[in-house]
């Protein structure tokens, strides 16, 4: 397996697992951005002080610390939100290490922003679609972000929607459809 596909398959886990609703997708992406940002700063400071053979040990230590701290901070912010993310929050540490190993943190700033942005966009779009199709709501539990009483969101359909979309297989199917739509969009129309 080449490096890029390992990186992408690690992104697949949260893309399918944590996008059951808009808020869980958004929460995981926010955590991802915070941890990646702090990791980049930390490793930037550590790298000159370490022999290159020990870089990965430092990376693992830093990623584990940051993920644990951000997860705990998130739990005291809104426990329910964190409970919806489940184990996918912990996977961010692994993602950090793999990205570092792929040289992500040495690549130009624009590339890094592009990857983070693309990941966020995909997460949010999938979260939105799955919530609308699966639960028939939009922006449920948005109050987890700000605090205050729990809010059921804008209810679009009363009968609940298609349950498949809230389950992992539904997420995978939707992701496949999105990628297929993108491919179809970019393919030049065949000339007869």
């Amino acid at each position: 397996m080449n490096k890029a596909s390992l990186q992408n398959s690690l992104m697949l886990a949260p893309l399918v697992g944590a996008t059951g609703s808009l808020m869980s997708a958004l929460g995981l992406w926010l955590m991802f951005v915070v941890v990646i940002g702090a990791y980049a700063l930390g490793m930037g400071a550590l790298r000159p002080r370490l022999a290159s053979s020990t870089h990965w040990v430092a990376g693992v230590l830093l990623a584990a610390t940051l993920t644990a701290c951000v997860e705990l901070a998130g739990q005291s912010w809104s426990l329910q939100w964190q409970q919806h993310l489940g184990l996918y929050a912990g996977l961010i540490a692994l993602q950090c290490v793999v990205l570092d190993n792929n040289g992500f943190f040495q690549s130009p700033g624009r590339d890094r922003l592009r990857l983070c942005g693309l990941f966020g966009l995909l997460m949010v779009v999938l979260g939105l679609l799955r919530e609308i199709i699966g639960n028939g709501t939009l922006g449920a539990h948005l109050t987890w972000l700000m605090g205050g009483a729990d809010w059921p969101g804008w209810v679009l359909t009363v009968d609940g929607g298609l349950r498949l979309a809230t389950l992992a297989p539904g997420g995978l199917i939707l992701l496949g459809l999105l990628i297929a739509a993108k491919q179809a969009w970019h393919r030049p129309t065949p000339s007869n």
Binding site: L46, V57, L62, Q75
Partner: protein, 203 residues
Amino acid sequence: MNRAMSVATLVLLAGLGIGATYVVQNLSAARIATEQRLIDSRTLLDMLPPGSYDNQPLEQPLALENLALTNSTLVTGYLATKGGQPNAVLLRSQTLGYAGIIELLIAIDANGKLLGVKTLKQTETPGLGGRLADWPNTWLQLFTGKSRTEPADNGWALKKDQGQFDQMAGATITSRAVINAIHDALRYFDEHRQQLVGSIPHE
């Protein structure tokens, strides 16, 4: 870069990491535990209309312990109040089903009307009586709004026993046990209304 310095930096990083995680864990533990308790009580109390109580009912147990009624046992009870006024009573009732003990949480409002019934524990046959544990539960919703006098005592039974309630398909014994437990709880509330909510009903 010399090796000793690398190792020292790594050890320092590990120490800092463990320390930071420990401090954050300590700082947030109390808050997380409180929130967890709040979530637990909310799932237990979702039969009560939101905003109908402003106390912590689970921290206000009633003075009844293992009280044997005709067909069931009251394990504990809780009082939900709003602005100091009793608003609802939650009774935790145990009865014997087909396969073992069934534990129900029965919410009754101050006028003796049933607000809802929730299954806390059951070991009935999965797919038959075991559907008692589903939430929200259409069969248990049949009882919402009923009281001791509505229907009268002989109506509090399955249609099979000349009462007025449907049963869960394929689970006669479970259904019968649940109906009797609910009826018991309502009767107990009716007979001890004064003591439980301290007021005469305004009907």
